[in-house]
Subunit: 312 residues, 2 copies
């Protein structure tokens, strides 16, 4: 089968045997994958990554222990937790210290024709939700995580800094929640007035984003940190202390609210798709995703032996 | 009367007329003042300060609109709020954008024989609480603020980084609350294991404190930022985001719980007094306070015309 391989910043296509399915796991055929900023960071050397990337996907279950899963379209939580520790028992396997992470940490990713994931990570996609909508489940879950962490009243003004992929999804999710969203970014360089918001989401992906976010936040307000910036960020902590601002790190979220949102009509994620490639065009897909102004780049599964496939 | 004057890093003693008492204000005679790290920061140029410093005090009311206050021993909240804005109406005058701050921002401080403060800022000290205990009301209130901002269960392990004045007071207040406090600092250089605490208080006063605090914090844990460091701090935000850590800036607090604690037996603040000087020895007092290893330095009021007083 075809697999995308990432090593030393180079994206290549390799031929591999299908992965072996262990007990408790499902074997999944990729229908559609999304390239995330984290994938581009992995390409730049983040986490010293080498292997098959990909953690945003929708796929079809080919084999599984649970017969009800076989043949179903699924999305999946990316953290593979041990299931036995305190974190896992509290329903926070996303923070399990022994976790591996699909396509990021010690578990081959979804950018290959077939891949495996624990059955307990999977969520069946409702029939009326298209592949190109369901593939947004993971970033939508990451946006929903904000609402699990901080209580934003309906109608409250919220600033979202960064109008890239994640910033726009966050803006849509918070608007669907009922917040009054103000999106600031490169495409919308309107300069916000300072200390104007009780809630500010930092999703710029840039080191200077945090400083701007703090400047925008009212005393006792909250900055939600979504950017994982590679390296150190410099920050004047005095306004954080004097104005008693809270900075809340925020990462992956639960898939249940994300799928519920995607099954409804409030999110318009499809308009964020900038380009589609087949899996065998992964190098071009990654190059396109890295271009300024590109939003979501999708890679479509091979659908069974078309050109560019391989016989393994 | 005698007043301490701070300008360009130099502490001097000047003779001044008594300040005029406006409506709503009390005229207070200093009984005892405490030198805080913020005073030392003001001396180093923080806030471009020039004037009379001092915001930790206990004094006796000499004149006031309210007859019940006259003759009483008082401590006082340091933020002079407008009283009319949203913040003030919510009981958060400490964040009033038009506030001045005793001895820090546009209001002469307590390190003078007589000073003025709004009557609504004052809290009467119970008779059995000594001057040298009551003078800790302001830093104890700042420590109590932590318990107003985050909910720390009784019995929970809490790390306090920094065994200077504020760190020790915080450690005592959190222990009095029932937390299992682990104090780390120069005097106790025991190296804590990483990611071990759900609550970490950063009170080192040093730029590297924040990084240490984040390393000590468990996923989903909280770092309370108490240090106001002059200048920029560099921080790797990736562990904050990945581990979904919250950083909570924390400053001044309410005096009510502080006075209640000081009236009880749980706090042993007096043992933190390193030296006592008279107000006329302020330059020596500041020099002593700046020496490594010094904890609280007190300045005692003149008590009416002793040596070093002046006739104005």
């Amino acid at each position: 089968m075809l697999a995308v391989h990432l090593e030393n910043g180079v994206v290549s296509i390799v031929c591999r045997p299908r992965p072996r399915r262990l007990k408790g796991f499902a074997l999944i055929r990729l229908l559609c994958g999304g390239i995330c900023n984290t994938d581009l960071e992995l390409q730049r050397g983040y986490y010293g990554f080498r292997g098959v990337p990909g953690h945003e996907f929708v796929g079809r279950v080919v084999e599984a222990d649970s017969p009800v899963l076989v043949g179903r379209r699924v999305v999946g939580e990316i953290n593979l937790a041990c299931g036995g520790c305190d974190w896992c028992r509290r329903g926070l396997g996303r923070h399990c210290p022994r976790r591996s992470v699909l396509g990021i940490v010690r578990h081959p990713g979804a950018f290959q024709e077939f891949f495996v994931l624990p059955e307990r990570n999977l969520h069946v996609v409702p029939d009326h939700v298209s592949d190109e909508r369901a593939v947004f489940a993971e970033p939508v879950a990451a946006a929903c995580e904000i609402l699990d962490q901080v209580r934003i009243p309906r109608g409250a003004p919220v600033a979202v800094l960064g109008d890239g992929k994640l910033g726009r999804i966050i803006a849509q999710v918070l608007a669907a929640h009922g917040a009054e969203v103000h999106l600031f970014g490169r495409q919308k360089p309107r300069r916000p007035s300072s200390a104007a918001f009780n809630w500010v989401v930092e999703a710029t992906g840039a080191p200077e984003g945090l400083r701007q976010a703090v400047a925008l936040t009212r005393p006792r307000g909250t900055v939600i940190l979504k950017s994982t910036v590679h390296g150190e960020v410099s920050l004047d902590t005095a306004p954080v202390v004097v104005n008693e601002i809270s900075l809340v790190g925020s990462r992956c979220g639960r898939f249940e609210p994300a799928l519920k949102l995607l099954a409804g009509r409030k999110l318009r994620v499809e308009k964020m798709i900038s380009a589609r490639f087949s899996l065998s065009e992964a190098p071009q897909a990654f190059a396109r995703a890295a271009q300024a102004g590109t939003l979501k780049v999708l890679m479509l599964g091979q659908g069974g032996g078309g050109p560019g496939s391989c016989a393994a």
